[in-house]
Amino acid sequence: MSTFRFAVHITPRRGILDPQGKAIADALHALGFAGVRDARMGKRIQLELDAPDAAQARAAVGDMCDRLLANPVTEDYHIAPLEST
């Protein structure tokens, strides 16, 4: 067994109204960042888990996203491996 680290990024699906992201974009415009076209507010979950190999660790994290971490109705997720500590 080895230890693997991942960051799971969860964002509201395109087309779903994201009032927090909109408030952030509005604030950035107010600060003069006129080029900001859009902001989406999501969340990041950092996971550390033991698995026989990287592929199985990655597959387990995918299963976690499907079953708990992301809501399939409203959210998309992206899994990024992190350097092991």
């Binding site: 509201p12 109204l17 009032p19 927090q20 708990l68 971490l69 809501n71 109705v73 409203t74």
Partner: protein
Amino acid sequence: MKFGVVTFPGSNGDFDALHAVRDALGEEAIYLWHKSHDLEGCDVLVLPGGFSYGDYLRAGAIARFSPIMREVSEHARRGGPVLAICNGFQVSCEAGLLPGALLRNEGLKFVSAPVHVRVENADTLFTNRYREHEVLRLPVAHGEGRYVADDETLRRLDGEGRVAFRYVGADGVEGADANPNGSMHDIAGVVSEGGNVLGMMPHPERACDPALGPPDGLAIFRSMLERVAA
């Protein structure tokens, strides 16, 4: 008829539901602890309002894995009535008992206020004691009540008469001002495909005692008596 009110860690509407059933409706009601696997012979289950598990991750996302949810889902699959209020609605969507999801209010603020809803279908297990298009005044108290579903789901809900309640003004007409959270199609409550699970963000159990205002929510409980007992 025996009602079981599920208490999750963080539930706060469980007593209100128990009080409504016992004292306003005059039926038997007990608490069911979320760690139990025993529905204790209850005919109707209530998933109450509150902040189960602190709304961590997403409202209702952790509570749906509580031990008792296995029995709640089986009860629903058998056609048993489930009244899912506020946080209970969120839990039911997460558990797949109802379609869609409930997201952060469009205005980003927690809304605690009386609202008006219109009965969109007066021929359900939960609404048969109302008149079609009757306007009710019920309290809401939520930060994540914006109902969201894909277009196909919304079409089906509308087409199959499964939108139970819609937010309207006091005059019974929809409008942006009448919708407290930005819910799609002004949806305040929906029923499951089998018609035996109702999820709604407003609190009917807090509108059952005339001492607290018009008891507009009581007919939901009475409607269940009518159908389940019959």
